[in-house]
């Protein structure tokens, strides 16, 4: 009974204080900012089964997407043997940078996320990335999710089975990949590496890689195995059998009619039988090329020889931390001469907000200017860093260009070529003259372009593109753009994936990476190839495919394969010493490596291919939905609120009566506006009037602009448990209060890492505390302003690097009777020093102060801050607090040692040494019961206790020190166990030993 009551009171206290009067209660929170830079003019294209949300600039892309969606709808109707009962809202963005602004999900969207399906409203959200084939594939992927969800929910409901069970994540993502189309070359890269590195995860342990890219690809491989071994129908049958058992292993057994482990074993053998023969003739990258980077992720290398002869390899990487640009000095044999040093610190401020780690190359000019791209606010910018002078030279930003990739210098270092995606969502090739600031668009079509490389004579730009005749199947070939006349010519042609061309210093060769189909249709590993760029042999025949081509380079060209690796190589760079610097993928790491003597490799290639450029076929084009003749309709988007969630709770107690509440949330389709309504009642004693204890709050939030703002009205009444109220009894701060009011708030992000928040509220408060004979009315006006900064980097258990801080100034006053008038000052700074790759020293300093009439109390104590003391046991109007913690690894993958831990998904167990200290004090918060009848004090202790409320631990410096363990369960729940001793009286007195166990991230 009591527990119910306390729970209800705590909920009320939380809702009350968190939502109603943030300023008055001195609340603040950290976190980065998701900024809506652009004001999109949303339109809706209505097709037979879809509502396509788009903005006018990307209409053509939306029409492609609509066609793809309708096409896959028909196909998935067959595969799932069902149809959808609802129209599918599909929201398109022109680029990943626009996609990052979506309000459909509150979470941050990193680079590389191709789209997502959201369950509440069944929305599909997809950005373009310049590649229409890939765009189509993502549409298919997400539509498989939509159908899977509809199918499974229907199956469960048909059988009247609770819908709290679902397919495992590896299943849903695996089937989405498998039914998106033929396996891509990245699939082969991951699968081969997993098998050859002995990191292939058995079916029964797929939970260990839950959410990872490997999980997607292994899931895809599993369904290929199921399809080829048992029949494609078994996939749907698994979904249709989900109602039969909660244990998906059992569902698999029923469907495949064999023990789950037998299936797992068969899959394992099937995979090895396919791939192990390939290992005979392949080399692991680490066996053929020396490494230049050894920690974390490292890719996109470039090479520069300084004027003083120093050689450095420069690359983007993260060393398990923030992404930076690193430089490592190498000797003449390309052996690292020391540790890599950070050249550009990324991901900590608005200027270098994010690198496109997997997508954007860097380049160095002859005179040592490093060009690279970062996201900086609303769009990408090109930075130029002077390697010789070790300083930033310039940053180029272009109003109409959203995403920018792979800048490449011209030979004299005065111009850049790069790929960019504009508002239309299509990728094109640009050049930019840094002297004249002239931007020139070289291509203007729907084909993808990537990885430009300027020829040493300055006449050509080599690039990779799907403008090839077979491009709609996702193939990429190499082309050159002739800057003298604007003609584009094939360099390679055919069913290949050719990327990242780089010229030899003499301009006679183009080096690139390529994956090609093998005898069984699977993609080969991505190897380093070289194309001879001297005019090809054979007849010089003009291509019929490209109207803008000329016959100079047409004919047959010889391509040499220089490597045959187990997984993949990336971004080769041809040094003036005749070496090749490149990145490789091995053991699920990207590493920068170097190969010696490229001339020798060309002289003895792994194999040679002749590509025929004389007959390159017609250029491809996808169909797209356009015009009302196809039954489509276009309307302007108007916000309509739809229910997101409704939930309620009720507790019935024969003594305390009924306590309960309900909450509903509405939002529009784009998630730009929210309405929350909450009602609850604490009329628990039965003798209290229902309306007197009735509380309600309605608030509305607008998230569609850079500044987010919200407002609302509220009414709270009845019993209230508030440990921060200075008038309330300290031991059991329960009283009645009725509050009517309105609130408003604005949050303006200065950058992704910093924001200003303004809060205001005006409320009528009628407080009654019978035990203290307090009956106070006040019209409270409360205002606050906060500045918050957060660039902390998180790992499994909490922040590991970076800084978080918040400073708040607030003023609360009773504008009617002057019963209340106090200022609030809050400063909170948390620093995370990474003193070793896996060791962090975290420091937290906090000072909080309320001063004035009826100023509220701050609280501390508990596992979150002052350990060893009970939750909220330390209270005072003024308080300082500090905590320091050394966080270090103890055991990695404890499940390997203790197998019973495996199902809990514990990646590691970390240790902590901690020290906490705090001091709280009050100006006018005395314990009157220590006075004697005459109003004086009987002794010194009574006098001391009068101003030192022992119940609140006020008036003394408290602290604790000890050790702790941290572990993360299932990638989300952090368990913390602390063991230590607490101290009192300014650390002069040792107090009791304590043990605390709790859930929650480290501070």
């Amino acid at each position: 009974m009591k527990a119910h009551r306390w729970l209800a009171l705590l909920i009320v206290a939380f809702v009350w204080s968190d939502q109603a009067a943030i300023a008055q209660y001195g609340l603040y929170h950290f976190g980065r900012n998701k900024i809506q830079y652009d004001d999109f003019d949303w339109q809706i294209l209505k097709t037979e089964h879809f509502d396509i949300y788009y903005y006018p600039e990307m209409q053509e892309l939306a029409e492609y997407g609509a066609s793809f969606a309708e096409e896959v709808y028909d196909e998935l109707e067959h595969r799932f043997n069902t149809s959808l009962n609802h129209r599918v809202p599909m929201i398109f963005y022109a680029s990943n940078l626009h996609f990052k602004q979506t309000n459909v999900t509150p979470g941050f969207i990193p680079d590389g996320v191709g789209g997502f399906f959201e369950f509440l409203k069944g929305r599909v959200v997809i950005p373009a990335n310049g590649n229409i084939h890939q765009f189509k594939r993502v549409v298919r992927h997400e539509m498989v999710h939509v159908f899977t969800y509809a199918k499974v929910i229907r199956v469960l409901r048909d059988h009247r089975v609770p819908t709290d069970r679902f397919l495992p994540l590896w299943f849903t993502e695996g089937i989405a990949e498998y039914w998106s189309g033929p396996a891509e070359h990245q699939h082969e890269m991951v699968i081969r590496d997993a098998l050859f590195s002995n990191m292939f995860v058995p079916l029964e342990n797929m939970y260990r890689i839950s959410g990872s890219y490997q999980m997607y690809k292994q899931g895809e491989a599993f369904f290929r195995f199921i399809s080829e071994t048992y029949g494609e129908e078994k996939i749907l049958e698994m979904m249709e059998n989900l109602w039969r058992d909660r244990d998906f292993r059992r569902v698999t057994e029923i469907t495949l009619q064999e023990d789950f482990l037998v299936t797992a074993d068969r899959w394992d053998k099937w995979m090895r039988k396919i791939y192990y023969p390939r290992l005979q003739e392949a080399d692991a990258p680490s066996l053929i090329a020396d490494g230049l980077s050894y920690r974390g992720f490292a890719s996109k290398p470039v090479y520069y020889r300084y004027n003083d002869g120093t050689r450095k390899v420069i690359y983007t990487g993260n060393e398990g931390s923030y992404s930076n640009v690193f430089a490592v000095e190498v000797d003449t044999a390309f052996v690292p001469a020391g540790k890599a040093k950070v050249l550009i610190r990324g991901e900590r401020d608005n200027r270098f907000e994010a690198f496109h780690l997997f997508e954007s190359q860097m380049d160095v000019s002859e005179d040592g200017k490093l060009a690279f791209v970062t996201k900086s606010g609303a769009r990408d910018v090109v930075h130029v860093f002077d390697l010789e002078a070790d300083k930033m030279l310039a940053t180029y930003e272009f109003d109409d260009l959203i995403a920018i990739y792979s800048p490449a210098w011209n030979p004299d270092g005065t111009g850049l070529a790069f790929m960019s995606i504009d508002q239309s969502g299509f990728a094109d090739l640009y050049t930019y003259d840094t002297q004249t600031a002239a931007l020139r668009k070289l291509t203007d079509d729907h084909y993808d372009v990537r990885d430009p490389a300027w020829s040493p004579d300055g006449r050509y730009i080599a690039f990779t593109s799907d403008r090839t005749a077979v491009g709609h199947h996702g193939y990429y070939n190499l082309f050159i753009y002739d800057l003298t006349d604007g003609h584009i010519e094939y360099v390679t042609y055919g069913q290949r994936k050719d990327f990242a061309p780089t010229w030899s210093p003499d301009g006679q060769h183009l080096m690139f990476t390529s994956a090609v189909p093998e005898h069984d249709g699977r993609w080969s590993a991505q190897d380093i190839w070289v194309a001879d760029m001297s005019p090809p042999s054979g007849p010089q025949i003009a291509s019929t495919a490209l109207v803008d081509t000329k016959p100079v380079f047409q004919g047959r060209r010889t391509l040499h394969r220089l490597t045959k690796v187990t997984s993949a190589t990336f971004d080769p760079q041809w040094t003036d010493d005749g070496n090749v610097i490149f990145a490789s993928f091995e053991q699920f790491r990207f590493t920068v490596r170097q190969l010696d003597d490229v001339d020798a490799l060309i002289a003895a290639p792994k194999n040679t291919e002749r590509v025929d450029l004389t007959d390159t076929g017609e250029r491809w084009a996808f169909e797209r939905t356009e015009g009302e003749d196809l039954g489509t309709e276009r309307v302007r988007y108007r916000r309509k609120y739809q229910l997101d969630i409704a939930q309620g709770a009720l507790s019935q107690n024969p003594v305390l009566g009924t306590t309960g509440g309900a909450m509903v949330a509405f939002s529009d389709m784009l998630g730009d506006e929210f309405i929350y309504a909450t009602v609850f009642n604490t009329g628990t004693a039965g003798n209290r009037d229902f309306l007197e204890s009735f509380s309600a709050m309605v608030s509305r939030y607008h998230l569609n602009g850079r500044a987010n703002f919200g407002y609302g009205i509220y009414r709270f009444g009845g019993l209230r448990y508030d440990i921060t109220d200075p008038d309330a009894p300290s031991e059991f701060p329960l009283f009645t209060e009725t509050i009517w009011g309105a609130q408003g708030m604005v949050s303006y992000p200065l950058s992704m890492f910093r924001r200003i928040e303004l809060n205001t509220s005006l409320s009528w408060s009628d407080k009654n505390i019978p035990i203290r004979q307090i009956d106070r009315q006040a019209l409270l006006l409360s205002n606050s302003i906060s500045l918050t900064h957060d660039n902390a980097l998180y790992s499994y258990n909490g922040p590991i690097q970076g800084r978080r801080s918040s400073f708040t100034l607030a003023y609360t006053t009773d504008v009617l009777n002057s019963n209340v008038s106090y200022y609030s000052l809050i400063g909170d700074v948390r620093n995370y020093w990474r003193i070793a790759p896996r060791v962090t020293f975290a420091s937290w300093g906090q000072a909080r102060m309320n001063f004035g009439r009826e100023s509220r109390l701050y609280v501390a104590g508990g596992s979150w801050d002052l350990r060893g003391f009970g939750f909220f046991d330390v209270r005072g109007q003024k308080m300082w607090f500090t905590s320091h913690e050394l966080r270090f690894p103890l055991v990695d993958f404890p499940g390997l040692i203790l197998p019973f831990l495996q199902p809990f998904g514990i990646v590691n167990i970390k240790g902590a040494l901690f020290f906490d200290a705090a001091h709280a004090w009050n100006d006018e918060y005395f314990r009157e019961d220590y006075r004697n009848a005459e109003g004086g004090f009987d002794d010194a202790e009574a006098r001391n206790n009068f101003s030192r409320d022992r119940n609140l631990f006020a008036g003394e410096t408290l602290g604790s020190a000890g050790v702790g363990l941290r572990m993360n369960l299932f990638g989300g729940i952090v368990l913390r166990y602390d063991y230590g001793r607490r101290y009192r009286d300014g650390f002069e007195r040792q107090d009791k030993v304590f043990r605390q166990f709790f859930f929650g991230y480290n501070f």
Partner: protein
């Protein structure tokens, strides 16, 4: 005294909970003479249904339905659902006559001999049941593997097939096994998903998920012939006197000679992901429907397309051929009434959910089952009925 009262209270609760359902009905309403499901073998019924159709009644079936969840006997409609219930409904009024639970899901139709109801459950400890509808109690029940394929009655036998490829014959009276055959093996397991069919000369037509069709002597269990059609079979075939129309999951329909199993003709669509629904076959035409929404009438001898109708929605439920019409239910929640001779759409009716279950005829009306749990009767109302409704 207090303890006794409490016990009685508990007993009352148990009785209330346990006694809520029963399938004790007046079996005189059932048709004891005609095999109740002869129409199901072909998907064709020789009745004239007048248009226009109107909804006569709608019944809440309690849960979702399998592809053949309906049996009509006399004036009673038996509906089995995926929650394991069998409902008996008065076909005239749509009122519930009885309800009983069997296992955890009954995927296919029940069968009756006029007194006993026979059914196979797809989950639960006991999966084959004989239920005495006069007494309202289970006569016998047998352990078995899960079955989606339903029950076929032949003489004094009931025939079942399970998801693991075993076909069994039980005595109707006792449930004792008479014979059984395994159509799969440990090395090459298979299963029966599609409902069974019975030919007029007493042979069972069974299909497996590996694409093999079997003609089995129902009395002995001897396999007369078997034929591989090249694609998995998850939907029941349709039978005529001389042909077996086999729908597959990979864009093809294969027609076999009923006597020999020889392939007569096939209809193969360019898209192999398309699934065929159970066809409906009459002497002069066979009607196929697919998940791309295409309904086609074929000449049964040559396979020549006589007419076609393109539904905007996918179709997975078996159509029904009557004297003048073809009835087709779609996943787009539509009941289409097509002209039997031309395929022209005469009427369409929207129902509450996707139609995934074979359409049945009762008297001069059609019975349609749809998601999430609805059963409709559509018929032409007489002038008196219209007046009554007013």
């Amino acid at each position: 005294m207090g303890a006794r009262m409490r016990r009685m209270g508990w007993m009352a609760v148990v009785l209330v909970v346990a006694g809520c359902s029963s399938l004790q009905i007046d079996t005189l309403q059932l048709d004891r003479d005609a095999p109740p499901e002869s129409w199901r073998q072909s998907g064709q019924v020789d009745v004239a249904i007048q248009l226009p159709l109107e909804e006569v009644w709608r019944y809440n079936g309690g849960a979702g339905f399998g592809p053949e969840a309906l049996m009509v006997s006399g004036k009673v409609i038996f509906i089995s659902n995926r929650k394991g219930e069998v409902h008996a409904v008065d076909a005239e009024t749509g009122k519930k006559l009885g309800l009983e639970e069997f296992g955890e899901s009954v995927e296919s139709a029940t069968m009756t001999d006029g007194r006993y109801l026979y059914l196979a459950s797809t989950k639960g400890r006991r999966k084959v049941f004989a239920y005495d509808m006069q007494k309202g109690r289970t006569e016998w029940r047998r352990r078995a593997e899960p079955s989606d394929a339903g029950i076929v009655l032949h003489d004094d036998l009931i025939l079942t097939a399970d998801l693991f490829g075993t076909i069994r014959a039980h005595q109707q009276a006792t449930g004792d096994e008479v014979w059984s055959i395994e159509i799969g093996s440990e090395e090459d397991p298979t299963g029966v998903k599609a409902p069974l069919r019975l030919t007029n000369d007493g042979h069972l037509i069974a299909t497996d998920i590996d694409g093999r069709v079997y003609r089995i002597d129902a009395a002995t269990g001897n396999i007369r012939w078997d034929m591989q059609v090249g694609a998995p079979i998850y939907q029941a075939p349709a039978l005529t006197d001389d042909a077996v129309y086999v729908p597959t999951t990979r864009g093809s329909l294969v027609v076999l000679d009923a006597a020999t199993g020889a392939k007569r003709w096939h209809r193969t669509l360019p898209d192999s992901t398309i699934r065929f629904a159970t066809p409906a076959a009459a002497n002069d035409m066979v009607v196929t429907a697919t998940t791309d929404g295409l309904v086609e009438a074929h000449d049964p001898q040559s396979g020549v397309v006589l007419w076609s109708f393109a539904s905007p929605d996918a179709i997975s439920a078996a159509p029904l051929i009557t004297q003048d019409h073809v009835f087709v239910g779609s996943l787009g929640k539509q009941l289409y009434v097509l002209d039997r001779d031309t395929g022209a759409m005469l009427e369409e009716h929207e129902v509450k959910g996707r139609i995934k279950t074979a359409i049945a005829a009762y008297d001069d009306s059609v019975i349609v089952l749809c998601e999430p749990q609805h059963i409709y009767r559509f018929a032409t109302r007489t002038a008196e009925e219209v007046a009554d409704a007013r």
